[in-house]
């Protein structure tokens, strides 16, 4: 047992405690702590990742001194570590990028609270990523929900509170279903640790009894997580929640929170139910269909949208659809594509949100397209970044979006029945993406526009610009040297089994 193996536990713990510490610290210090924690966790996950790549096998970490099946466990594989690292990067960048906006969006007294919530969120995400225990997962899902809700409503305007309420309701429904499914599962198997559940599920399948309850519980858990990760048609809460909360919140929520649930779902599929068993249920077909629908309708409502941030929010509905389509294919390749898309979408979407804020603040704070005309000239960095993000979304080569499209399509071709549908919908949704993103891009470069708005140069917003730069670089790294990452994902998934 190397020392490194403690890192997952440490990272969860420090982010949890630093949260509580933040509440007593002065605002500046809180900010610093927050950043440091995120960075530290990131570093730790990085080291862990390297370590795991070295050993090439996952390990299980006891919480307390009870072995399975009684004790609570943490499990770390390449995928977990990679996810953690990635989440940290995105979160750090989003925080840094949205920091300057925080002050005029959130009232002074609430700043500490903000950092607390962020830390809580991080810890819960990490827990979701690492945990090996279903009930722990549930608990952290709830914590995640609460902190996310806090992040939404931290900006005290009617819209956000209402959005928060809606978000709460939906996710409570989701977690309720999840919990119920979990209970049934526990009832069937008598275990809470993923690995144990898996064994007994396998036995159940062999024995051929309790099929219906098993399916029911799986279905309940899937639906629960689908609701929480805003799969169409459960996306009603999403645009408001992402559209009106503070920019960092929006970025983090859209790129991390929903992804956390999805990652949990992946873990469940692989580590609880077992990939093959899951694929033999009809559930994947349902996921597939709703994925496709999401891809189409998300984009359609994005096209109708007249508010840049809501548009981006809707586009994440479509992107989530992509991911679930990948699940629905029920092949290793499809799963790899989905996981990669989780990464690329997280990178791109947060980039878009951060860039969008850069654009809106040179347009008198308005997010209506009409005011954004020519914003690309007034804030060059944001303009370029937004363009890059859009291109990635549309799937232009060199950007991450292209790779995920490539992977999805390649995966789709291997599935007889679903190939044509998947390919055609891919094509159509690309067209739709092109329509609304390019509309925006052209809009922001359309004319020099209303010059009454101030121009922002590099000097005025160093941090913001640099963050954007990092995002773009990240995006391009994902897009160009995707091969190692894909390999890593494959290894990680292999470790799950």
């Amino acid at each position: 047992m190397d020392f490194v193996c403690n890192f997952p536990f440490f990272s969860i713990l420090i982010s949890l405690f630093s949260g509580t510490i933040c509440s007593v610290l002065p605002e500046k210090a809180a900010k610093a702590v927050n950043r440091i924690v995120i960075a530290a966790v990131g570093v730790m996950s990085g080291i862990l990742l390297l370590y795991l790549l070295g050993t090439g096998e996952s390990f299980v970490y006891w919480m307390g001194h009870f072995p399975a099946p009684w004790g609570n466990e943490i499990r770390a594989g390449i995928l977990e570590a990679g996810m953690a690292l990635f989440f940290c990067i995105i979160m750090y960048l989003s925080m840094a990028g949205g920091a300057h906006k925080l002050f005029d969006e959130v009232e002074e007294s609430k700043h500490n609270l903000y950092y607390i919530l962020i830390n809580l969120l991080l810890s819960s995400l990490l827990a979701l990523v690492y945990t090996n225990d279903m009930f722990t997962a549930y608990v952290f899902v709830e914590i995640n929900t609460i902190s996310a809700c806090g992040l939404i409503m931290i900006r005290q305007v009617g819209r956000t509170i209402e959005a928060a309420v809606r978000y709460m309701i939906m996710s409570l429904l989701g977690s309720g279903l999840f919990l119920f499914g979990l209970c049934i599962m526990y009832d069937l198997t008598g275990h809470l640790l993923m690995s144990n559940i898996k064994e007994s599920v396998a036995l159940l399948i062999q024995s051929g009894e309790y099929q219906i309850p098993l399916i029911v519980s799986v279905a309940l858990m899937c639906i629960g997580l689908c609701i929480k990760s805003a799969l169409f048609p459960f996306h009603a809460w999403l645009p408001d929640a992402y559209g009106y909360s503070t920019v960092s919140s929006a970025a983090i929520l859209s790129s991390l929170v929903s992804k956390g649930y999805i990652f949990l779902l992946i873990k469940i599929i692989y580590r609880v139910i077992g990939f093959e068993i899951f694929n033999n249920t009809r559930i994947i077909d349902v996921l597939f269909v709703f994925g496709l629908l999401g891809m189409i309708f998300g984009s359609l409502s994005a096209i109708k949208e007249n508010d840049i941030r809501r548009m981006i929010a809707y586009s994440s509905v479509a992107q989530i659809g992509y991911i679930y389509m990948g699940f629905g294919m029920g092949t290793q390749a499809g799963m790899v594509a989905s996981v990669f898309h989780i990464l690329s979408h997280a990178a791109t979407k947060s980039l878009l949100f951060i860039a969008a804020i850069g654009l809106t603040e040179v347009s008198g704070g308005s997010r209506k397209f009409i005011d954004l005309t020519g914003a690309g000239y007034r804030n060059k960095w944001a303009g370029v970044a937004f363009t890059a993000g859009s291109l990635s979304m549309v799937g232009v080569p060199l950007f991450s979006g292209f790779i995920s499209k490539l992977l999805f399509a390649q995966a789709a071709v291997q599935v007889e029945g679903k190939m044509l549908a998947a390919l055609i919908v891919l094509g159509i949704s690309t067209v739709l993406n092109a329509i609304y993103f390019m509309k925006t891009v052209i809009r922001i470069y359309a004319t020099t526009g209303d010059t009454s708005y101030p121009c922002i140069t590099f000097k005025d917003m160093k941090v913001h610009a640099i963050v954007l730069l990092f995002f773009i670089v990240l995006n391009i790294i994902l897009g160009v040297s995707s091969q190692p990452i894909v390999n890593m994902i494959e290894q990680g998934l292999a470790m799950f089994a």
Partner: protein, 124 residues
């Protein structure tokens, strides 16, 4: 199926309660009622767990007058889960209620649709 239903009537009841709570949470427009629905839903689940954990003729897993044999007590884990779950649901309901209060202060209404309508009027 039928006989099973009669044997585990407790679970059946739990499931029905869960559905009631679920629909309330989903369909009620009044926030308070929603929250009530939420609580019904959660408690239904706890009931379910309790039912599962209960073994006829045994007592709660609290060591009384020195009997330490496992046979004397019911399975403790579900109870533990229920306790955890209760904690969670309490905190969640608290959060929901606080949100409700804020909304009520702003809009003098508990009806979500009405609030949404007012928000549209604000148009921000």
């Amino acid at each position: 199926m039928g006989p099973n239903l009669w044997i585990n009537y407790g679970e059946a009841v739990a499931a029905i309660l869960f559905c009631i709570g679920f629909t309330n949470l989903l369909l009620q427009t009044n926030l308070i009622k929603k929250i009530i629905g939420l609580n019904i839903m959660d408690s239904a689940i706890y009931l379910f767990l309790a039912e599962k954990g209960y073994i006829a003729g045994r007592t709660a897993p609290i060591v009384t007058d020195g009997i330490t044999s496992v046979e004397a007590y019911i399975n403790p884990i579900p109870s533990g889960l229920v306790l955890t779950g209760i904690v969670v649901s309490v905190s969640v309901s608290a959060l929901m209620l606080s949100l409700t209060i804020r909304l009520y202060i702003r809009y003098h209404s508990l009806d979500l649709d009405e609030i949404a309508a007012q928000l549209k009027k604000e148009g921000r």
